[in-house]
Amino acid sequence: MEFINTYLPYILAGISVGGQYALIAIGYTMVYGILRLINFAHGDIFMAAGFMMVYLSASMPLYISIPLVIILTVILGFLVERIAYRPLRTAPRMSIMISAIGVSYLLQNCAWYLTSGLPKQYPKIPWISASVSIGASTTTVVTLITPILTIVLIVALVLLIKHTKIGMAMRAVSRDFETSQCMGIKINSVIGITFIIGSFLAAIGSLLYFTNYSTVTPISGAMPGLKAFVAAVFGGIGSVPGAVVGAFLIGICENILKIKELDMTTFSDAFTFALLIIILIAKPTGLFGEKITDKV
């Protein structure tokens, strides 16, 4: 019992942050699945969602600002695709990747401009910021609801991909642009929807993540974005379940390293990347990766 009381908070925190990484990781993995593009701007869209919440909640009640943050983030994600990626659809993949890096810095610079680089206090969202005690340890409600909400959203997403017409189109487009076009599928709409879903989940992830971390800075998206990207690669990029499993594993592992007795907190970020290197040596396509990574 003593053992559980000591370590449970770390495990819970790990599961919680894992869920938040998962919500971001899906955006990376789905976009990669369809465009074979690593969307470097995704972490910054997550950061932008954080700032939107800071500014909007200052002047509006939460029941308006939260949905508005989600909607605006979705619009931002869609516009990034429309403006920075779509014109490069037939360009070499490296060009789109450079465009993605450009968007990433553009979003960060805009955030610097708006905030002068000062960390902004993230608003307290009542109820989910509240403390709750489990046994002898205390944690916040957000820690407990994150994994539940994450799982619900992911199940919904998997059902969408497996059992709806648009999901079928997404699977077809991710396999073969040209044949999909021959079926009458509008590639650009399917890609647009993919970015909308990714940004929607990133917005939810940002609400949960920043509630836990309390401040937002222009580079707040970088580390969680990178971790989520690692989770996606770890799970096998292109695979939604892979990204989720990878995200939870990374979240839990890095929090176990924060256990006081281990005295390894400083290395928790480095550990993530060490884990990635080991996995990629053992299984280059990740846990659930397809065998053929190149597009036919």
Binding site: R171, D176, E178, Q181, C182, G184
Partner: protein
């Protein structure tokens, strides 16, 4: 009025002039074939009609409507479908999903069409829940044809349907082509297997390095000395 009318079509493939101003017609309910060697511009012609490639100049008219360089989805909705070279079925979609995706633009009930398809291709019925990628080459070609039919086309374009298939399967495929045509669907077929194609077609066009050099009924071309020497190996 022909179902499909191509006038002075020019298409570039990268820096190469792949199609150098061809004109031909496809009458309603006919089987028309374009034959020619590799690189003659056959595939490019079909891909341009399907809207996948934009031509440099020339027009494509379908039932009197100009469909030149239109969106592929619009062209499918008008009733033109392409069975692509190499079948290109979706390997990680089930057979049923492959069929349904062929009817992507349709919003009506598909039950009658599925029954019709399963009558034409009983093998596909047995394999309904299998992944497309697990089918044999011949079955995949059947599925590619069936998928194209699910869009309820008026014109079905086929790019090398016999490629890489055993002679017996090729015969089955051509039987199916004739059957589909009997049911009122116009066929535009390109083939390297000129013998099979000309035996089946009402009209044949010979394409050489981007130009049409010979036209005639399938039978006439089969007995034409130049065609025999160049494409039939006799």
């Amino acid at each position: 009025m022909p179902l499909l009318k191509i006038s002075d079509l020019k298409v570039n493939y990268g820096a190469i002039e792949a199609v150098k101003g061809i004109s031909f017609e496809v009458p309603e309910k006919s089987i028309v074939t374009l034959i020619g060697a590799n690189g003659a511009g056959k595939s490019t012609t079909l891909r341009t009609i399907a809207g996948l490639v934009k031509p440099v100049s020339g027009t494509i008219e379908f039932k009197g409507e100009d469909i030149t360089a239109k969106d592929p989805a619009l062209i499918v909705s008008r009733g033109i479908t392409l069975v692509p070279e190499g079948r290109k079925i979706f390997p990680d979609l089930t057979v049923l999903e492959n069929l349904k995706i062929g009817a992507y633009l349709r919003k009506d009930n598909l039950d009658d069409d599925l029954n019709w398809i399963y009558d034409l291709f009983p093998r596909l019925k047995e394999r309904t829940w299998q992944m497309g990628g697990t089918l044999s080459g011949g079955e995949q070609q059947m599925l590619a044809v069936a998928r194209a039919l699910m869009s309820r086309p008026k014109l079905m374009m086929m790019d090398e349907p016999s490629l890489g298939l055993a002679p017996m399967i090729v015969r089955d495929i051509f039987d199916i082509i004739r059957e589909i045509n009997r049911q009122g669907i116009t066929i535009l077929l390109i083939e390297q297997n000129a013998n099979m194609a000309l035996q089946t077609a009402d009209i044949g066009y010979v394409l050489e390095t981007g130009r049409i050099t010979l036209t005639g009924s399938g039978k006439d071309l089969l007995t034409n000395e130049a065609v025999k020497a160049a494409y039939l190996g006799t």
